[in-house]
């Protein structure tokens, strides 16, 4: 499936600029995730036919089991042939498959615009988001988008229509990550029984987001946390510099050789604590390095639903 180029991509292509989110890279990503399924973690309650197991068992062509007719069952569902053969009234049950709305909540605050020269975190977030949207849309799931940046919040409600993935990609490409804004309020209007994928570095209101995600999960929803981490954050430059938080200029810390070890230790501990806190509440947590191919991240997120998801090799130990 090849998504149409956005105007910005065409402009970049015309100027000969190439980067990690070039159309070819996006196309190769979509090619790499073709056939990947992203099943719901639990049976969904949707009525529309889809690719996920539904909690409803009805008149689907695929037989699941027979059940003795009880009062109140629809007589139309009685298997008359079986009744004729065994003189017992059974109703025919079938496993329904339904769709699940998937909402991608993407963090576009200033912390995602890092490294400032390549915007690697933001591009990785976009690629992972588009990949997840494509996988969900392949299962005929409605796909929506919420982008939270310092400029405000942009929202695309979940849609199943053709080309929704392209719209999502264009919407993401039109956003420039900057400013500071909390993610949790963006999740307050999420209705229950929906699949939410949060793509963020969780350097903002991580606790509030996790708390709101737990509420969504408790209401029957499904929440996936995709933690984007830049390689420069895992291995900062060796030179001495004054590290300034892009979202809080008052937060400046001298980064010298003596502080490096302490930084690495604190950052690793925070990541472990973050992963543990999400998993304790039964939420899916996946860490993704910027240098890691987006297709691999998508497969890992989708595999988490099947119980085969693995953490990124480089950060596996840290997220256990």
């Amino acid at each position: 499936m090849r998504e149409p180029r956005t105007a910005r991509e065409e402009e970049r292509q015309r100027r000969g600029e190439g980067d990690g989110s070039s159309p070819e890279t996006r196309s190769s990503l979509l090619d790499a995730i073709r056939g990947v399924k992203w099943p719901a973690l639990r049976a969904v309650a949707g009525a529309l036919p889809g690719g996920h197991h539904s909690r409803l068992r009805g008149a689907a062509p695929e037989l699941s089991e027979y059940r003795v007719y009880r009062q109140g069952d629809d007589p139309k569902r009685i298997d008359w042939k079986l009744l004729a053969r065994s003189d017992r009234a059974y109703i025919r049950l079938a496993e329904d498959r339904s769709t699940v709305s998937t909402l991608l909540v993407v963090d576009a605050t200033a912390s995602m615009a890092y490294p400032d020269r390549t915007l690697g975190k933001w591009k990785a977030a976009c690629d992972v988001s588009v990949g997840l949207a494509a996988v969900a849309h392949a299962s005929r799931d409605p796909v929506g988008l919420v982008v939270v940046s310092g400029d405000g919040m942009r929202q695309l409600p979940p849609r199943t229509r053709r080309g929704i993935v392209g719209e999502l990609a264009r919407a993401l490409d039109d956003v420039t990550p900057r400013g500071s804004r909390a993610l949790a309020p963006a999740m307050s209007r999420i209705r229950s029984r929906i699949r939410v994928a949060i793509v963020s570095d969780f350097l903002g209101d991580a606790d509030d987001v996790r708390r709101r995600a737990g509420e969504v999960a408790a209401a029957g929803g499904e929440v996936h946390a995709i933690h984007i981490v830049a390689d420069e954050e895992l291995d900062p430059p060796a030179r001495s510099f004054l590290a300034v938080d892009p979202e809080d200029a008052s937060l400046a810390r001298p980064f010298v050789a003596e502080a490096r070890a302490a930084y690495l230790e604190r950052f690793a501990a925070w990541r472990s604590e973050l992963a543990a806190s999400w998993r304790v509440e039964g939420l899916s947590y996946t860490i993704a390095r910027v240098s890691e191919p987006a297709s691999r991240v998508v497969r890992r997120v989708a595999g988490a639903a099947l119980g085969t998801g693995r953490a990124a090799p480089d950060v596996r130990r840290e997220t256990r």
């Binding site: 350097l203 900062p236 300034v244 938080d245 892009p246 937060l251 400046a252 980064f255 925070w270």
Partner: protein
């Protein structure tokens, strides 16, 4: 240059190096770089010590180092033995009065001239030769002008003062025939301005120490007041002078024609133009007749006394006048000499002739003819009187260790003042830098 306490200089140099090192290890804010996970870095003071690859505030550093060096140099006590050891001389060469004595003067001057000496040439005017050499003396040509020793001493003292800056000691050497006309009343005073040594070197003439002892040729009766006055004065006579207290004879006239000066000073009533009886004057003044002798420079002489005027001198060049302006003495050229007529009647009685004023008056009148003055060398004693070799003040002001100490102390004061100025400038610049940074 050396130091009295070189340890201070070494310590100052070490401190200056330390200041430079500290300047290069500047406390500064490291370069800012965004890092979203900055919160995980330990909180520490933002300023860090980093070697300044491209040092800034170089002017401030220079001022600091300068202040330290100045203070250390002042404490170390600099000494400046920069003077050239040895004697420096100012050779004053007289090139006046033609070439009679020039060969001797030239030879004498060249014999004493050494490289580095100053050279002053003078006749009626004086000038210092710039970058003199021995050839400068050779190139100098004699002139017919009379010598002016005062002007020469002024220029020589100026040159000596300049030479004193680079020499241990300086003396002025005057090479001259020392004619009596070279001196004037200011010469001795000018000489006293120079505290150092003045050495005289007579060349071309011999000392004229006998001229002043030549006996007077006075024809007068015994006990004549004029003869007595001239004999008491010692009569610094120059040239041939004959004083007659009666009337001039044919022999006197012939003698005058040969270049002598005959002073006809009748003791009684003269045969000249008679004046009204009872004409009395109370003062008579003789103008300058001579060029002046070294010991007694030329000047007018006035006698204040009641004089009975009985006659007026014959017409001629007036050499003395009464107080009312009438001529009292005239001079008439006669051949190579002259005939001087003096119509001043000196009373035979009284002590007028013994007064210094009258003796000077008589001396002035008993000089050679105005137009036939002969050049004569001054005596050594007169030269020594006007240009003494040393002065009492000079003995005290010769260059000595105390002078060097005073000079070095002045240098220390200047160094400390400059260091203070540098420290003030450093303070101002540091505040300016701080304001700019803020």
């Amino acid at each position: 240059m050396s130091f009295a306490a070189p340890l201070f200089a070494w310590v100052g140099g070490a401190i200056a190096l330390g200041v430079v090192a500290l300047h290069l290890l500047a406390w500064r804010r490291p370069p800012t770089s965004p890092l979203p996970t900055a919160r995980f870095a330990p909180d520490a003071p933002v300023r860090t010590v980093a070697p300044a690859v491209r040092p800034t505030d170089l002017l401030l550093l220079a001022v600091r180092v300068l202040a330290i060096i100045l203070v250390s140099a002042a404490l170390a006590g600099p000494r400046f033995p920069s003077r050239i050891h040895g004697l420096g001389r100012v050779i004053v060469v007289d090139r006046s009065h033609g070439s009679e004595a020039w060969a001797y003067i030239d030879r004498a001057a060249r014999s004493i001239y050494r490289a580095g000496d100053a050279l002053v040439l003078f006749d009626s005017a004086a000038r210092a030769v710039r970058r003199p050499t021995v050839d400068s003396i050779v190139a100098a040509s004699p002139t017919r002008a009379s010598g002016g020793m005062s002007a020469a001493m002024v220029v020589a003292i100026r040159a000596a003062n300049e030479l004193q800056r680079v020499r241990d000691s300086v003396e002025i050497v005057v090479v001259s025939p020392f004619g009596s006309d070279a001196f004037d009343g200011a010469t001795a005073s000018i000489r006293r301005v120079w505290p150092g040594t003045v050495r005289t070197m007579r060349a071309g003439t011999s000392a004229n120490d006998t001229a002043r002892t030549r006996p007077l040729d006075v024809r007068a009766q015994s006990g004549d007041p004029v003869a007595v006055a001239l004999s008491l004065d010692g009569a610094a006579l120059v040239g041939a002078v004959r004083v007659v207290r009666d009337s001039a004879t044919a022999g006197d006239t012939a003698w005058a024609r040969q270049g002598g000066a005959v002073v006809v000073w009748p003791s009684g009533p003269a045969q000249w133009n008679a004046r009204p009886a009872g004409d009395t004057a109370f003062g008579v003044t003789v103008s300058t007749l001579v060029w002046g002798s070294p010991g007694m420079p030329a000047r007018s002489a006035t006698v204040v006394a009641p004089f009975v005027r009985r006659a007026a001198p014959p017409p001629g060049r007036v050499v003395a006048r009464w107080d009312d302006g009438d001529p009292a003495a005239t001079e008439i050229p006669l051949g190579a000499g002259c005939m001087r007529s003096v119509a001043v009647t000196v009373p035979p009685a009284g002590d007028l002739a013994l007064t210094p004023a009258f003796r000077r008056f008589a001396e002035q009148l008993a000089q050679a003819c105005l137009g036939a003055h002969a050049w004569a060398a001054a005596s050594d004693s007169d030269v020594e009187t006007v240009l003494p070799g040393t002065t009492a003040r000079g003995a005290q002001q010769t260059l000595s260790v105390s002078d060097t100490t005073r000079r070095d102390s002045a240098v220390v004061r200047w160094l400390l003042a400059a260091a203070l100025a540098a420290l003030v400038a450093e303070l101002v610049m540091r505040r300016g830098t701080a304001n700019a940074t803020a």
